[in-house]
Amino acid sequence: MNKKSRTEPYISTYLHSKGRKLGLPIAGNFELTARCNFNCPMCYVHMTEEQVRAAGKELTAEQWISIAREARDRGMIFVLLTGGEPLVRRDFFEIYRGMKEMGLLISINSNGSMIRGEILEKFLADPPFRFNISLYGGCNETYENMCGQPAYTRVKENIRALRKAGVEVSLNLSITPYNYQDLAQIYADAVELDVNVRASSYMYPSIRVNGEQYGCGNRLSPEDAAKYGVAWDQLRFTGEEFAVRAQNMKNLIGDEEPECPVESEEGVRCRAGSSAFWMTWDGQMRPCGMMPGPTAYPLEVGFEAAWETIKAETAKIRLPNQCTSCAKRDVCPVCAAVCVTETGAFDQVPTYVCRQTEQTICATWEAYQNRRGADSKQAEQTICTTWKAYQDGRGVEQRMEEESSEHAAEKEGN
């Protein structure tokens, strides 16, 4: 697993920067469906077939392609096809190929369970830029508990087939009450498959499927989210790298490449609503898929007008003063989507995240000190062992010398 490689090409950073200045939609996230063949309790979007029918109507392949074409004409180049599980759509390849023919660079979010047989062959003949595959556990039992299907072996086989063919794969890992015990195995799998992992122990409240239950979700307590987030860091970093991270956390210096790139110091800090947009499965445009709004309707007003609305409404969003002026801001995952899903408002402090961040800083430092303690003990042990071996060696040498002298005396005596 190449831990140090950038997961985002520099050209993407450059184009987003230009897009932000010029107001262009450089990236589009297309949530093709809310349906999924898995049933994970922490999912922010998954609905059953019946719920989908009751809540609205999925867009047709023609509608998706039409929106993508309008977005492409305004500057879109990066596309993420996501869900639910996008591959449950029977017309997935119609949408995929239609968008590729437009000159779009496509990544796909998937649980990986369906990428085999005919579907795999189609992807090998015409691969996406990258698959982002969610790995939910390190054994079939965990998958069954969390996703409702014992699909671990199958998913791993599918990822191996993609990697063998040279298809780019990145893993997404959600650390939850259902899979935290599998972290070591998941890390071992990532190393074996030679893939990067983007892990998060922070789970957004699922307000899109659970109504206005702000701050609620099937997730770890903030303290446990911190604990297992740090446990993952200890797996993925070398001792030296972890020491740097611990020092940075102590000094409140953030990641070089955070999960959502920071583009602005006030309001919405990432690219949402300034150079990127999200389309929900039922045709609503939003800045980000986690947010319940602002919303615009490109199928009714056209892409251009919808994008202008999203940009204007996003520019009005302000985070709580306590967050923007907080000393821990750069090591905290707080964002507009976090605030609104935790509290129901963009300008309210998400205390769950405050607690997780504070605990992450403490737990990282504690783990670093423990490692240093263990390293010191190991160093002391090494010195003792070396000295003992030296002494033993000296003893042997002395005995050899004595034996040699005795042997010489015997010879002389003879």
């Binding site: 090409p9 050209i11 184009l15 262009l24 180049i77 590729k100 000159g103 660079l105 015409d126 040279g166």
Partner: protein, 87 residues
């Protein structure tokens, strides 16, 4: 000159970019950005048979010396050959 790889040219925010399509995705690490002259050469590649013709077309459209046009053309074509985009 025949372009062997599947690449789609896009104009985005004032930049000319080649997007890999089909199996070309395997050989690339994302996007190719072309400067103005490279974009010009890219457009005329299917219409020309050799380097000399490219240089003549550049001289007809740009106020540049033959030496500069030849050097720039050779550099760009070398890059395309290295990436297996042309023979």
């Amino acid at each position: 000159m025949k372009i062997k790889k599947q690449l789609i040219k896009r104009e985005i925010a004032g930049d000319t970019i080649l997007v890999p399509v089909g199996k070309t995705v395997y050989d690339s690490n994302g996007l190719f950005v072309l400067n103005e002259l490279a974009a010009f050469i890219w457009d005329i590649l299917p219409e020309v048979s050799d380097e000399v013709q490219i240089v003549e077309r550049i001289l007809a459209d740009y106020e540049v010396t033959r030496e500069v046009a030849s050097a720039d053309t050779a550099q760009f074509l070398r890059k395309l050959r290295e990436m297996g985009i042309i023979d």
